[in-house]
Amino acid sequence: MKTVEVRTIEKMYKLGKIGVPVLRGVSLSIEQGEFVSIMGPSGSGKSTLMYIIGCLDRPTRGEIYIKEKKVSDLSDRALAHLRGREIGFVFQTFNLIPRSSAQKNVELPMTYQNISRRARKRKAEALLEKVGLGDRLRHRPNELSGGECQRVAIARALVNDPIILLADEPTGNLDSKAGEEIMELFEELNEDGKTIVVVTHDQDIARRTQKIIRLKDGKITGGDIIGN
């Protein structure tokens, strides 16, 4: 099944009165269980493409299908619900709530769904355990290392069992050892069947995925399938 499909996406950003094209007709599809990287130099539109796939931004033109259902004309409210249930985001800068514990951070997406307090707690604990932070539940982000923060963020992204995990330069703020651990975690998750898209400009990161989509000046310039 196609988890995500985008058809001839165009995106213009307005800078003052001038419209700057960021994406110029991008089409792609991602199958269930794939581990894909989107590569390109900065300004190529790779992050924009990822956020459009994640329904966090709307394309100027083009259509998006999630689980083969068209979502590009849904209301803001419906998109918020969709993001909450089907998409998991991982960011370069983690974006954890500094005042809340690791466990509370992981619980956050569940608070916007109808999930009981006890179920949320259980789920958050189980996921933190899974990413190797079972002993850090009560720690706040400033008491955790960068790698640990990113693992909290991954646990948060997984908490509503999304059909796709979208990561924007997930190792960009980490040292190579922590970055390596994060990539191993992604590989593990993918082996469990999770569909993952990683946006990166790092060749070494991209090479560890199964498929690389190369983007330049808002267009797909090529795709490599990497045989394992």
Partner: protein, 403 residues
């Protein structure tokens, strides 16, 4: 969304910046404190009023001389003879030095006749009130007998009273305590002629005027009932004017004024009106300032947490969820200010009797505590509407990328 979650978020946010939150809510705090203090003072007065009316009797008529010696025995007889007057007593107050054992205190001495017991609504704890035959007998107010001196004064004890004449000479006499008045519910009206009976020493008027070498006094009379006060007052006026040769048509000012208990109470209530309107003005200004303060700090908070708002939206929060999150926070800020304000207002009221402000002890009605909190909450929420709306309509991606 889980309805409890915004409260936890708000609590964590406020807790993480205590000093800022406190300063923000200062306006609300002062406003609520001022309202609580104001209402408490007003209610205190109400209670005081009711007690004064029942304690001293609202059928009291006070005739106060405007010139020294204007009212004398002739006028007193005329008042006593006026139909509708039950009793009338002269009343002359003077500052005196009072010695008991080896202690000396400054106290107020009242020269009265036996009728004052009925007029002043006094009940005796011990002994008897003054009679016409007494000369050097004294009846003590409750506090004079029990609190003013280190040792209780009992009936038949001798006390020494020293008064100063207008020519500077002093006159000392020894009095025997004849009676002690029960703790009185009548209240100090803060006027020259009405001190709290608990703090007075009553001696015969004739003795006091001899000691002072001065004639003339105020006349306190009681009417048969409250609804007769008006008519009796007019009748007394007519009789005194005739006696003193006051011509109404010549618009001559009579050398006395007549005050009714009711009027005095109204006068005092008016004097508290100034304090009341000042407190209300403070409350209103503070409320506006407080509201702007909360709005300002919420705008700062929303800007500071722009990326957090982006994240909330990325993980499934709708506009409404974001709106509620920030409205709860601003409402909670208001409520915290309100709670501290109530505490400050009640505290202020507790201090009033301690620092001897000339006000009856304030009484805080419980419903005003809730009104205070409710207004604080409402101001918090209203002030938060614009910042929360601003947060809610942020575009998620722009918010996430905000630097």
């Amino acid at each position: 969304m889980d309805p409890i979650e915004p409260f936890i978020t708000a609590f964590e946010s406020i807790r993480s910046s205590k000093a800022r939150s406190f300063l923000t809510t200062l306006g609300i705090l002062i406003a609520v404190a001022a309202v609580i203090a104001n209402v408490s003072i007003g209610t205190g007065f109400q209670v005081y009023w009711e007690e004064a009316v029942t304690g001293m009797g609202s059928n009291l008529i006070m005739i106060i001389p405007q010139e020294a010696g204007a009212l004398n025995d002739r006028e007193l007889d005329a008042v006593r003879a006026t139909p509708g007057v039950v009793e009338a007593s002269p009343l002359q107050n003077d500052n005196a030095r009072v010695r008991f054992m080896s202690e000396t205190k400054r106290l107020m001495v009242s020269g009265v006749t036996k009728e004052y017991q009925q007029v002043g609504n006094l009940e005796l704890e011990e002994g008897d009130f003054l009679s016409d035959q007494d000369t050097f007998a004294a009846v003590l107010g409750y506090d004079v007998a029990h609190d003013k001196f280190s040792r209780n004064i009992s009936v038949r004890s001798p006390i020494e009273i020293t008064v100063k004449r207008s020519n500077g000479e002093e006159c000392t006499e020894t009095f025997i305590v004849k009676g002690i008045i029960k703790h009185s519910r009548a209240l100090p009206l803060g006027m020259q002629y009405s001190f709290h009976p608990d703090e007075l020493i009553f001696i015969p008027e004739s003795t006091l005027s001899e000691m002072l070498d001065e004639k003339g006094y105020a006349i306190f009379a009681s009417a048969e009932s409250m609804d007769k006060v008006e008519g009796v007052t007019e009748e007394i006026e007519d009789r005194l004017d005739r006696l003193l040769g006051v011509m109404k048509i010549s618009r001559m000012e009579p050398p006395y004024t007549i005050m009714k208990q009711k009027e005095i109470l109204e006068m005092i209530q008016k004097s508290t009106g100034f304090l009341s309107s000042m407190l209300l003005a403070i409350a209103l200004v503070s409320l506006v300032v407080g509201s702007i303060g909360i709005m300002n700090i919420m705008l700062v908070t929303v800007t500071e947490r722009t990326r957090e708002i982006g994240l909330m939206k990325a993980v499934g929060a709708t506009k409404f969820d974001v709106l509620i999150t920030f409205l709860v926070e601003s409402g909670m800020l208001g409520l915290v200010g309100g709670a501290f304000g109530v505490a400050l207002g009640v505290g202020f009221c507790k201090i009033i009797p301690i620092i001897n402000l000339p006000l009856p002890p304030p009484v805080t009605p419980i419903e005003w505590v809730f009104i205070g909190l409710g207004v604080a909450l409402a101001v918090g929420i209203v002030s938060g509407i614009y910042p929360a709306y601003k947060a809610a309509r942020m575009r998620p991606l722009e918010a996430l990328r905000y630097e």
